[in-house]
Subunit: 352 residues, 2 copies
Amino acid sequence: MPVDPLNGRREVTVSDVAAAAKVSKATAARVLGGYGAASEAVRDRVQAAAEQLGYHPNALAKTMTTGRSNSIGIIVGDIENPFFAQATRGAADVAKAAGYDLILLNSDEHAVAEENAISVLLAKRVDGILVAPASTTDPSSLREAVERARPMVLFDRVADGLDVDTVVADNLAGARRLAQLLLDAGHRRIAFVSTIAHADEYRVGDRLGSSSVDDRVRGFVGALADAGVDDPARFVRLNARDGVPAVVRALVDDGITAIVASDSLIAQAAFRELRTLGRRIPDDVSLVAFDDADWTSLSAPGITVMAQPIHEIGAEAARLLIRRIAGDGAPTEHVVLPQRLVERESIAPPRS
Amino acid sequence: MPVDPLNGRREVTVSDVAAAAKVSKATAARVLGGYGAASEAVRDRVQAAAEQLGYHPNALAKTMTTGRSNSIGIIVGDIENPFFAQATRGAADVAKAAGYDLILLNSDEHAVAEENAISVLLAKRVDGILVAPASTTDPSSLREAVERARPMVLFDRVADGLDVDTVVADNLAGARRLAQLLLDAGHRRIAFVSTIAHADEYRVGDRLGSSSVDDRVRGFVGALADAGVDDPARFVRLNARDGVPAVVRALVDDGITAIVASDSLIAQAAFRELRTLGRRIPDDVSLVAFDDADWTSLSAPGITVMAQPIHEIGAEAARLLIRRIAGDGAPTEHVVLPQRLVERESIAPPRS
DNA sequence: TTGAAAGCGCTAACAC
DNA sequence: GTGTTAGCGCTTTCAA
């Protein structure tokens, strides 16, 4: 029953057009699909018939025979997070220009959701997958894609033991720079705050679940160590998932004089809590963060941040993916994009 | 040649599993697809074979025969705009729970891009389409979908002459409320600023390209008129696309004492320009806006805003769409969600 | 409960 | 330049 289950009507097919134009199905398909050759006369007849009948190609049928869907999947932590929204836009623009559409899935940074997402995308026969892996250290949820030899490009974070292209920002250098700024201002008791989950207190050598946070922490700790700060690892506060305010409170009680927020959302929570506590930025506490979010230039004071080329991260990832889809067999590429410091007014020398 | 063009390998199909399990293709398909009936023994054999061969369903082939793709298209102005990102997330969650995925397309508020998006989605045989129409007054780009009887639900704005479900916020009431707040504070020279394109100076009775902006303007003008303000339409500033700062400057020169920003991006630009001009909020100029964006509670002063249930707009639109896809033939529904006032510190009595 | 066969709408050989 | 014929991988009658 060749009827459309959605409305009981039947869509016009190549066969219909062929019949109306009195040519074979193959010929009609050739002019409609824009491949092969056809005489001027036939071409006109077919196009007229198509127009008249209201022919609309079925991309799915095409995919069935060509094996190419012209869609790529993108798995982000949460599209509501401005970081992912921007990266997605960057990817979407590149994809669109190359004739691809995006199937968007949120993982909420959970491996199971990520694995489901991969399955769905593979089942829908996307030509490739872009993903910000939920876990750098255990990317088993992504392995299926690799095993089934589907082109995949990771962005924002890398994944251990996965031989695929990656596009990330230079978080190590960025974190170093941010910490150095604080150190230069005279701070010694500087905290690094992240919501990332981690089993224990952070210790040098620990591997974090997100390579970008891992790089930031290492850059931070490295800078402090180089400056002669004793046991910098003790200033790293992870697991702040639901409790950035509480963490900030504890930090303030501990006499910390500066905070490095691992992302803009954490910085926001810290900013609010500091305000609630009546601590002034930067007089009482200095605050710096990653990502040049809107609010960081609208708040008083403006926040000094390490800006990431978010758009470009998404765009570059899409470019690499499309190259792979096209069959580029070059060795795996690991792109690291530079970050950019935006200095504002949230740093001052420590109080005491 | 049944090979995968992407990697030269061939995916395992129902036929392969059937052969290995020594049953017919139909039987294998029944157990693999989870429909029809099969004896325990056969079921086990098929599943074992599938497992062993590494069978993965081809959703496209399924769509070909069933006509259902389990994907829905969503067309937004720009996914980078927090409003659309949030609405998309709301829609994604509802869609996912019902087994649908989202194909995301940006229209940049252009009718041609919107029309292309519709074509692409229709070609990919999505089961339905969610769209924030680029134009309320000329939704011809959406007509194809309606004519082809594809379920479609509009969100954030309605479209003239299109008999489809819509989900919008109560912008008329929201704008009235915002204007009233300013009026109550003593303001009489209040401007409404929007980036929407409009041929001429705004005049009462004009129809704007976006129903939500149109409603906001009407609510604004209505409130001023009710308060006895003479010719309120002259306070409406449209076409601010690239020049919110310039518009704000002119407004200040004109002695305006309060500004209603049509959305959070405009409010942001206005906030910056006012700061640049050295005008203080709310002492020199009062400022209110739509959307409870992050920054409005982080800035100094905090901005009084009319919050929209953005998440819910997307979610509700998805719910309606899914109902239609399921074959609900109920009359077209037009959902209007209430807005919520969030009072902060950006309103004060006018200076003079 | 199981199987045979047809068909979804298209493209891809291959022949003429 | 055009037509014929097979499929792509699945679901769906219809019989047995």
